[in-house]
Symmetry: C2
Subunit: 544 residues, 2 copies
């Protein structure tokens, strides 16, 4: 017992130290920090093991479920983090890691992130965020203006208005999409005589009150899976997501969209929302937003644009025409942690009508009192960190023309890579880059020729082998650890055709050079030529 007491006291003192005594400058953790500050890429390249270790082996280092009963020294634990966690993490900012939507980050965001953590503001209410609230409202205002381009008076009236907000900052595009469709649902099934609104009485009574047999959300078949998740969460069910086929360029087919709207209406199913994608995750394709806005207006449906990826293209005076029509959207999702180069955890949803968020407003006694300017009254999340500061800083330090340069460079890099693929006789470009995404696959020249003229059955047999080849190549390339492309499955030539496996690349990292892109193809070609059994099978089809 005496022992226990002494132990407790010793722990007590060391605990107090943790909160009061900074890390010594020569500690392991301070050294790491200094390394990161001086050369982040060097640190990551040095500490992250390039070659692939099977997940099952990594899991052995994270196998115990027991809570640690003895404290570890910070330095000891840091070494363990380096060896077990960091070493086996993913170098997402490597210029040759072009498979996902990750990138190198601007250096200034590292110290600013630390400042943000040290300030530990909570944006749910003014009492724990003060100036961070108007700052976030300004960021929402700027981003709103980027999309909707209203005049000064509009922003003067609304940006800092109590009981309203021009949108919501959130952890990412999924929460942004959910918030947009939540607003759409609640605005549709709004209170009326005899019905207090869906927010009060729920969906079951809401559909009965309005006499609809069901609600529908129409989106192209290339829409993000978060929309299905939103439909599930909102109580509409996956079935309410109606996937409209795309044309050969993976864009929503508006003729089919209009037909489907008419068909649903005839069945007494209300078109709650039409969702345009401005930058699909798989191919970077942009839906014909203006045509969709017309149809949404015709059917009095909420028009949402998921521009989580492509929204930042609006910074580019050269390419913003690609998103023409987005200004007609009732709501828009944009991720700051994608093409705005903010670290993970920063998404936004913006609403054309600044009073739209009233549909999801909520209050509580101890916070979010009515009439307050607390941002928490209109967000899906509650407590939230001050991530908006990072976007605020980026908007000022990089500025609109800086973002334009970054966007233009990315698109032009994708076009360059597309030209490399097209020029190579054994690669096939599957989707052309509109933004900085493209898909392709390895198809030996003779197979490409055969695909031009073969029967449907032959085509299927060939594609099956090519799929295997793509999957194998992608895996081997990843495991070798020099570069990384991702893969997905998309229809071969749009509407109605079979899906095929393809390599998918995203060229948003400003540090990815043309040389790296050349090397990616060289490496893939080398991997491909080693796949003798598969190549032999392909050859036998050609020979047959």
């Amino acid at each position: 017992m005496a022992n226990e007491k002494r132990y407790a006291q010793a722990n007590n003192e060391s605990l107090h130290r943790i909160f009061t005594i900074p890390e010594a400058p020569d500690s392991t953790l301070s050294q790491i920090e200094s390394e990161i500050s001086k050369n982040l890429n060097g640190f990551l390249s040095h500490h992250i093991v390039a070659t692939d270790k099977p997940l099952s082996e990594i899991e052995q280092d994270f196998a115990s479920s027991e809570l640690p009963e003895r404290p570890e020294y910070v330095s000891d634990h840091t070494r363990q983090l380096l060896e077990k966690l960091i070493a086996q993490s993913v170098h997402t900012s490597a210029p040759s890691f072009i498979g996902h939507m990750t990138s190198a980050l601007p250096y200034f965001l590292l110290p600013l992130s630390k400042l943000m953590v040290g300030l530990n503001q909570n944006l749910v209410k003014i009492e724990t965020s003060k100036a961070f609230t108007p700052m976030e409202r300004q960021v929402l205002g700027m981003m709103h203006r980027l999309v909707y381009a209203n005049n000064d008076d509009f922003y003067q009236d609304w940006m800092h208005s109590a009981d309203s907000s021009l949108g919501a900052f959130c952890s990412g595009g999924t929460v942004a999409n959910i918030t947009a469709l939540w607003v759409a649902r609640n605005s549709l099934l709004v209170a009326k005589p005899g019905f207090k609104g869906v927010s009060e009485e729920g969906l079951f009574k809401g559909l009965k009150a309005y006499g609809y047999d069901d609600l529908a959300i129409l989106v192209s078949e290339r829409g993000h899976y978060s929309l299905k998740k939103a439909a599930n969460l909102l109580g509409l069910g996956h079935d309410s997501i109606i996937a409209i086929p795309t044309d050969a360029e993976h864009r929503m087919d508006c003729k089919l969209l209009r037909e489907k709207c008419a068909e649903l209406e005839a069945k007494n199913i209300k078109v709650m929302a039409i969702v345009g994608i401005a930058g699909t995750t798989e191919t970077g394709t942009l839906d014909p937003l203006n045509d969709m806005a017309d149809i949404a207006a015709e059917y009095n449906a909420h028009f949402h644009v998921d521009a989580a990826w492509g929204g930042a293209t609006l910074f580019s005076n050269k390419y913003r025409y690609l998103l023409s029509g987005i200004e007609r959207a009732d709501s828009v999702t944009i991720d700051a942690h994608k093409q705005m180069y903010v670290p993970m955890g920063a998404g936004l949803v913006l609403f054309k009508n600044p009073e739209a968020v009233a549909a999801i407003e909520h209050h509580a006694e101890y916070i979010l009192r009515k009439g307050s300017k607390d941002l928490g009254s209109h967000t899906l999340e509650g407590s939230r960190p001050g991530m908006a500061m990072l976007l605020y800083a980026s908007l000022h330090i990089i500025s609109r023309p800086g973002f334009e340069l970054l966007i233009n460079q990315s698109i032009e890099k994708a076009k360059y890579f597309a030209s490399l693929i097209t020029a190579h006789e054994d690669f096939q470009l599957v989707s052309e880059p509109k933004l900085c995404l493209l898909t392709y696959r390895y198809v030996p020249k003779h197979v490409q020729e055969l695909l031009q003229s073969c029967t449907l059955q032959q085509r299927r047999n060939i594609n099956e082998l090519l799929d295997q080849l793509t999957i194998t190549m992608q895996k081997l390339q990843r495991e070798a650890g020099k570069s990384f492309v991702s893969r997905t499955r998309i229809p071969e030539q749009g509407q109605g055709t079979d899906a095929i496996s393809v390599f998918r690349v995203v060229l948003a990292n400003p540090l990815t050079t043309e040389d790296i892109l050349q090397q990616v193809l060289v490496e893939q070609e080398a991997i491909a030529t080693e796949q003798t059994p598969l190549l032999a099978q392909l050859q036998s089809i050609i020979d047959a």
Copy 2:
């Protein structure tokens, strides 16, 4: 045009520098970083202006909605951040800021946060997080074990299991509560012959398929507002939240709970979930979880425990009995950014049954393929940062006994503060601390005496004046900037009584000393005695 080109090129180079050249050690930003590393509290005390500036004035610094067209130098912008944003932010970690659930943070989390940002992992899938995925799964396993205490075999089987997870890491308690109720709803209206399940067909058809007239979620009237938000989002509506009155100690009245369950059942309204609060936000009260678990079992309802605040009490062998019954919950919410001292943005939901998350499972082609161990298949959010690393490090560096000490100290500090309030003749303790939260108000001795014996009408008149006094005092204290308590409204003596305004304090900051608590009362007393008109009005009631 030539000018524009030169400008673009210059920008191009400076942009590239932002991604490649670290901040110089003598730059403004590096200096700030160094100050934070050496003395965070000193930095915050030095830079945050203590006295209150009206929000309308602060807003003038964040008034423009125009996107910056000229880049700012990092150093210039940093100075602006210091002067306009940081200076007017809230010193949430100040030991005298005891009004909300914020605290000082352990020092080691600052450099680790920077490391986390630099690594920029995305936990949605293994391809962008690798070892971070098993690490997060281990953290979920440890926290699951803290609540449910299953044996090694259980965790061996489930912790790293594909297509399952023991819970979900998320941005905070609100998302955790929503996720729990989402699972509850989908598990209730599950697929059966003729119905594909609510996740597919939605709530309207789900209620029809099961023949319920409505669903209900029962929670004490002291439940967190996020539950209403969840009911709204999930399509159930606020009306589905049935608030059960509490006893004099603000705990769910289980007799009334049982009666309400019977009443709802008789009306063909299915009790979907019963929610116990383990640490209410306003008073820190803990519901009688065991009794509630009995009733939930009886009515076959999902039993959720919102332990966002109090969950960390489980680390304390001395006090964990307060949460007895939590191990019977189907799901539990715990916030790591509250009593686990992790920076803002870290919540968890845990599920007793590891297969529960199947109810909200989703897949997509390019990620989250079936059979993968991607955590994104079972989370409300999509892309997510590697916050789990901070909890992982804290669990190892602070360890279970360290957390126990922190929890015990907080509770004992609250008891000490309660004793100060009770000993002071002009203060009235309104809710006793069970955890480290309590509420109180300033009530001059003679008024306290009168309240013992007065008529209901007199009582109401007095309370109205006392409410004004409390609100004024809280505002003046906040504006003076020396210390901060929050305020809320709660029933005077539990069930059925009128609500009164009270001061609310949360004593989770390990750096809050007894001396500070004494000073808080001294300061409040001084403010109170200056409120002559209100005091005179109170006196006139006594005199009458």
